[in-house]
Symmetry: C2
Subunit: 301 residues, 2 copies
Amino acid sequence: MMSLPQSIKIVEVSPRDGLQNESQVIAVNDKVQLINDLRTAGVKHIEVTGFVSPKWVPQLADAQEVARQLAPDEDVVYSALTPNMKGFEAAMDSGIKEVAVFTAASETFNQKNINCSIEESFERFAPILEQAKQQNIKVRGYVSCVLGCPYEGDIDSEQVAAVSEKLFAMGCYEISLGDTIGVGTPLKAQRMFAQVAKRIPTNSLAVHFHDTYGQALANILACIQEGARIIDASVAGLGGCPYAPGASGNVSTEDVVYMLHGMDIKTGIDLDKLITAGQNISKVLGRSVNSKVANACRSSS
Amino acid sequence: MMSLPQSIKIVEVSPRDGLQNESQVIAVNDKVQLINDLRTAGVKHIEVTGFVSPKWVPQLADAQEVARQLAPDEDVVYSALTPNMKGFEAAMDSGIKEVAVFTAASETFNQKNINCSIEESFERFAPILEQAKQQNIKVRGYVSCVLGCPYEGDIDSEQVAAVSEKLFAMGCYEISLGDTIGVGTPLKAQRMFAQVAKRIPTNSLAVHFHDTYGQALANILACIQEGARIIDASVAGLGGCPYAPGASGNVSTEDVVYMLHGMDIKTGIDLDKLITAGQNISKVLGRSVNSKVANACRSSS
């Protein structure tokens, strides 16, 4: 029988990763409502926005306003993506206490996505990590394309491990391993996780799966069996990958929580309230909820 | 690292289980085309129809006609559901070489679904199994509600094991364990499978998951790790459960095959041709394909 942990940390990425590719710009109030709905559901780690160029991501042009309206809550960690020092400083000015940086395990993806090599991305992060250390700010590191790249195809797990180790050595307290295009399957996911776990303690590793090929929950299960204890997810399955048009995006938090609770793994989250959070933001976006659990629970009640 | 088999047997249930709840009656030609598309894709086990009362399942009123039009193929097993002796005899008259019977692990579900107790269902099957033995016809046994019942809630795995053991003792060569309402999660699925496997060899056990709560692939993975080597699936995710309106039905064969091939497990199936089979029947039904793999593969190509 599989060996499972007693609890799992969920990192909710919908307000940033989930919304950033939406062409319809969402009002600040609606974003804050989403964040508050997630808090009400018991979510303790929420990536609330990104301090990025509004030219590149118009949806996040309101980062400072969103940050300003966050309800004070000592039990909740509000984090924000900060790709460069300018973003980091803006985040600090807005009272953000945890930030995130991102790179990829694929050179080509990095060039196309953030217009620099993997090595250059580390150089960009260096001053952020230095400043963060001085100000006692935690930094999370995202690694994209850990199981495949839209340009390069398969990605060597050794490359994923090397990039992750570098971020960890630079001071990132948590590394999120992202299957950005959702092509991974359970055995590959488990092997990749194990490879990275040779270099970094598993309690500093998160898994971030997209459900483009329907494999996300199976991949998460495989990684949990290998020691993963931190899972990124997005309520209502918000967030698409621009490189897989028409395909679904992040694994929905509702589906993850249903699976974990069904295995007696604690998350601290109230599934019913989480479903409400997903319904509310989906209504704002004018679309149906992209979560099988949400749809099944609501249709049967 | 998880231990996995070299190959898995896929039992395709779309022509019967997938279509039976469709209100729009599909033409015989379209059903035969589906079966031929599946054969072309390399599927070796296909449940092609059911010899049931047309009053109860109008969609399957054409069972004899479908059976008559099956292309002779020594490599493919065409099976049919036969709930009683009348159906069995009709199946034999139509040249069917493998049949299936069904019961449930829930008394209430059986009463509502087939209007008899579990014990009475065995009595109904007895003459079928006797005749089948004499005629050298293989019989498959379905057990519904193995992880939950819409009326009784949780189902004791010991009950599932007892019902399965009885069917096996009566002569069923393969028992398909069905999570009819899709509520199961991986640890429960694995424990249930292990409980049944104490009584019946794993190579005589199939798993049959519905993806209503998005858990099907994770559940399949958990059961494979416990020794499951036979998986029921339905191309394009055809088939809903009438007790979970609006929710999705059978796990899609495309998603299962993608996961298995990604783990280097052979199925003998050509994924691309399988996707074509799903697209063709979905077109007949006038709906989009209910398979993330199918949608992702076709949108990216």
